[in-house]
C-alpha cells in the first residue's frame, strides 16, 4: 500500500515547496530554465491533485489518513493511547474537492504568469512566492491538525502579501500590502489564540480528537470562545463583509494572475469555516445560531459587494468587489444547509436519509459548494482577462480605456463568458450553482432568495458597464494599436473558459461525481471523520 496515491497528500505540499526553494537557484541559469522548471512543478502538482481527487472520488468515500513521520501509514494512535500524537493529514470529500479548485486556478495562474511576467524584474522570486502560496493553500485544505493549519495559514498570508506588494513602484500596492498584512496577521493571531484555548482545554491539537472531545464533554465556555475567535479570524481571511476591507485592495493591487490564486486562498479560509462549523462543532443545539450567523454574513457580503462594485471605475477593483460578493453566495448556501441540518434530527442515519432524499438543506449545501468551484473558474477567468486588458491598454481606469474589442477578439469573448457566468446567466456554470442556492434558500426564507437574485442582476449591470467601458466605443489611448494577448496568456484563459462552459452544460454530472461527496462529507460525515482517526464509530 505504498503507492504514489498513498503519498499524494504530502507530495501535494512537498512538491510545490521543493519548487519554491529551488526556483531562485534554478533562476540563476536563465529565464528559460526557470520557466521550464516552474512549469514542470506546477504541472506535477496539478497532476497530483488530480490523482488525489480521482483516488478519493473513485473509492469508498471513507476519509483517508496520512500520518507524518509515523511508523505505519494507518496507525495514528500508539497502543494504549487515545490521543493522536503526530500531525496527520485527513482527506475527505471536501478536502479532495478543494484541492481540485486550487489546482485548477494555480495551473491557469502560473502558466498565464509566464507571459505576463516576461518583461518584469524579479521573476524567480515571483514564481517562488506563487508556489509557496499554492503549497500553503493545499496545506490548509488537507491538514487534520489545528496548529498545522495555523502554520499554513501564515504561509499563505505572507506569500500573498509579498505578491500584493511585488510591484513596489505602484503607490497603492504598498499601501495595500501593509493593510492586508496587518489584517492577515490579526486574523492569524485570532486563529492561534483559538488553537491555544482548544489545546488548553483538550490537551491535543488533532481536529478529529477535539471534535470527539466536544462531542462527549459538551461545548464548554472556552470552546465557545474558541469558536468565536476561529469564526472571526477565518471570516476575516475569507473576506466576509464586516471584515472585508482588505479584500478589494488585495485582489485589486496584486498582479492579475495572482489575484486569481488569492481567490482560491480566500476559499480555503471559507473551507476552514465550514470544517470548523460542521466537523469540529457539528453537534448540539447552537449550530442553528451559527447557521444564522453565516446567513447574516452572507446577505451583507452579497449586498455590500455588489453595491460597491457598481461605483468602481477601476477594472480590477470592480472585479474584486464582484469576487467579494460571490463569497456571500457560498456562505448563503452553506448557511442555509447548516440551519436546516440543525432542525433535523441530530444523528448520522437521519441525516444520511435526508441527503439521499435531497432535502432542501442538502441542496443548498450542494449549491454553495458547487459555487466555490464555479466562482474560482469564472472569477479566475475575469482576473486573467483583466490582466490582458490592462497590459494592452496601459491603464486600469475604465474611463480611460475603450475600443479594445476591435483588436482583442479572443480576450473580449473570454471576458463575456466570465461576466455572464459570474452574473448567473443560464448556459454558463454560475447559473447552475446559483439556481440551487436560490431554490433552496427560497424554502428557508423567500427574502434570502430575492436578495440573491436581485444582486445577481445588479452584478450583470456592473459587468455590462465594465464591458462597455473597456471593449466597446472608440479606441482610446493605447487601444489604438493594442495587440491581442500572446498565446501564452490566451491558452490559460481558454482553459478556464472551457471549464466554465463544461460546468454550465453538464452540471448534473459534476454535481453527482464531485460535489455530492463533498457536501455529504460536511452534511453527515462528522462521525466518519472522527472514526477514521480514533477508530470505531
Amino acid at each position: 500500500m505504498n503507492t504514489l496515491a498513498t503519498h499524494a497528500p504530502v507530495l501535494l505540499i512537498a512538491v510545490p515547496l521543493l519548487g519554491a526553494f529551488a526556483t531562485p537557484l534554478v533562476g540563476k541559469l536563465g529565464r528559460g530554465a526557470r520557466d521550464l522548471f516552474v512549469g514542470l512543478i506546477v504541472a506535477l502538482t496539478a497532476a497530483l491533485a488530480g490523482l488525489l481527487a480521482a483516488d478519493f472520488f473513485a473509492g469508498s468515500g471513507v476519509p483517508s489518513i496520512y500520518v507524518l513521520g509515523g511508523q505505519g501509514l494507518s496507525i495514528p494512535l500508539p497502543s494504549g493511547m487515545t490521543v493522536p500524537i503526530r500531525i496527520l493529514f485527513e482527506v475527505d470529500g471536501m478536502s479532495a474537492f478543494m484541492t481540485l479548485i486550487t489546482a485548477l486556478v494555480t495551473l491557469a495562474g502560473a502558466y498565464f504568469s509566464f507571459s505576463y511576467w516576461r518583461e518584469r524584474s524579479g521573476g524567480s522570486m515571483y514564481f517562488s512566492l506563487l508556489l509557496l502560496l499554492t503549497a500553503g493553500i493545499f496545506g490548509m485544505e488537507l491538514t487534520g491538525d489545528m496548529f498545522n493549519f495555523f502554520v499554513f495559514l501564515e504561509i499563505t498570508s505572507i506569500a500573498a502579501c509579498g505578491l500584493i506588494g511585488f510591484r513596489v513602484w505602484l503607490k497603492k500596492s504598498q499601501e495595500a500590502g501593509f493593510k492586508v498584512m496587518t489584517l492577515y496577521t490579526l486574523s492569524g493571531l485570532f486563529v492561534l489564540l483559538a488553537v491555544a484555548l482548544l489545546y488548553g482545554q483538550h490537551g491535543a491539537l488533532n481536529m478529529a480528537f477535539i471534535a470527539s472531545q466536544i462531542g462527549t464533554l459538551g461545548v464548554t465556555v472556552v470552546d465557545k470562545i474558541a469558536l468565536g475567535l476561529l469564526l472571526t479570524g477565518l471570516a476575516m481571511k475569507a473576506g466576509a463583509v464586516p471584515m472585508h476591507m482588505w479584500a478589494p485592495d488585495a485582489y485589486g493591487e496584486a498582479p492579475a494572475p495572482t489575484s486569481a490564486i488569492l481567490v482560491a486562498n480566500s476559499q480555503a479560509s471559507l473551507y476552514a469555516v465550514f470544517r470548523v462549523l460542521f466537523t469540529l462543532f457539528g453537534i448540539g443545539a447552537s449550530i442553528a445560531t451559527n447557521g444564522w450567523i453565516l446567513i447574516v454574513l452572507a446577505v451583507l457580503t452579497i449586498f455590500v459587494g455588489v453595491t460597491m462594485a457598481l461605483v468602481q471605475n477601476d477594472l480590477k477593483r470592480l472585479i474584486a468587489y464582484g469576487a467579494v460578493s460571490q463569497i456571500g453566495y457560498m456562505l448563503l448556501g452553506v448557511g442555509v444547509g447548516l440551519v436546516r441540518r440543525a432542525s433535523l434530527v441530530v444523528g448520522g442515519a437521519a441525516l444520511a436519509d435526508k441527503a439521499t432524499a435531497l432535502d432542501y438543506g442538502f441542496v443548498a449545501m450542494q449549491g454553495g459548494i458547487f459555487h466555490m468551484l464555479n466562482d474560482a473558474a469564472c472569477i479566475g477567468l475575469l482576473f486573467l482577462t483583466s490582466g490582458a486588458v490592462i497590459r494592452a491598454s496601459g491603464t486600469r481606469d475604465l474611463n480611460k480605456m475603450g475600443g479594445l474589442a476591435h483588436r482583442m477578439k479572443w480576450t473580449t469573448v473570454f471576458f463575456i463568458i466570465g461576466a455572464f457566468a459570474l452574473a448567473g446567466i443560464p448556459p454558463f456554470n454560475g447559473f447552475a450553482s446559483k439556481f440551487l442556492i436560490y431554490e433552496a434558500s427560497f424554502k428557508l426564507s423567500p427574502f434570502l432568495s430575492v436578495i440573491a437574485i436581485l444582486s445577481s442582476i445588479m452584478l450583470l449591470a456592473v459587468f455590462v458597464k465594465a464591458f462597455q467601458g473597456a471593449f466597446l466605443g472608440p479606441k482610446v489611448g493605447l487601444a489604438v494599436d493594442a495587440e491581442e494577448a500572446p498565446l501564452g496568456m490566451l491558452v490559460p484563459m481558454a482553459v478556464l473558459a472551457l471549464v466554465v462552459i463544461a460546468f454550465g452544460l453538464f452540471p448534473g454530472f459534476f454535481v453527482d461525481t464531485i460535489v455530492t461527496p463533498a457536501a455529504k462529507a460536511l452534511w453527515y460525515g462528522r462521525d466518519a471523520y472522527i472514526g477514521a482517526v480514533l477508530g470505531g464509530g
Binding site: 512537498a14 526553494f21 531562485p24 496520512y66 507524518l68 513521520g69 511508523q71 505505519g72 501509514l73
Partner: protein, 163 residues
Amino acid sequence: MGGCGMNQDGMSVIVRTVTRFIYGLILVFGFYVIMHGHLTPGGGFQGGAVVASAFALLLVALGTAGVKGHLNKHLLQSLEEVGALAFLGLAFAGIGTAFFYNLLANTGGGFFGVGVPAGPNAGVLNAGGLVPLMNWAVGLKVMTGIACIVIVMLVGARKEGTE
C-alpha cells in the same frame, strides 16, 4: 547626525575593537547551540538566530562599507535556499515509510544511530537520527535568512524609504 551615518562607516574604535574580539565568541556559541540542540536547550532556530545576531553586530559596528567583502547578499540567499532544500530533503529521506519518518534513529551505532539510556543522563552526541542533521539544516537556513533580511533592510531602507 552620527547615528544616521553609522551604517556607512560604522561606530567608534572602541566598539569596533570589542566587536572583533566578541564576534568569534558569538559565532562559536551559536554553533554550539545548533550542534547540541538535541541535548541541551536550543536548536537550529535559536542557534541560527544567535549567529545571525553576530552578523548584525558586525553590520552595525563596522558599517555596510566595512563588511562589504565579508557578507555577500547573493551568497547568503543561495545558502538559505540550500538550507531549506536540505531540510526538505531530510524530510523526504524517510518517504519509504512516511514523510518525516526518522529512519536513522536507534539503528544501533554508526551515523547518529546510537540509542540513549532512559532517564537523566549526560547526553550522547551521536544520537537522534535525523534530528541533529535537521538542526544543522535549519540553523544554516535561519542564520543566512535573518542575516539577509538585516542586510537588505539596512541598505535598502536608506535608498527606498526617502525617495
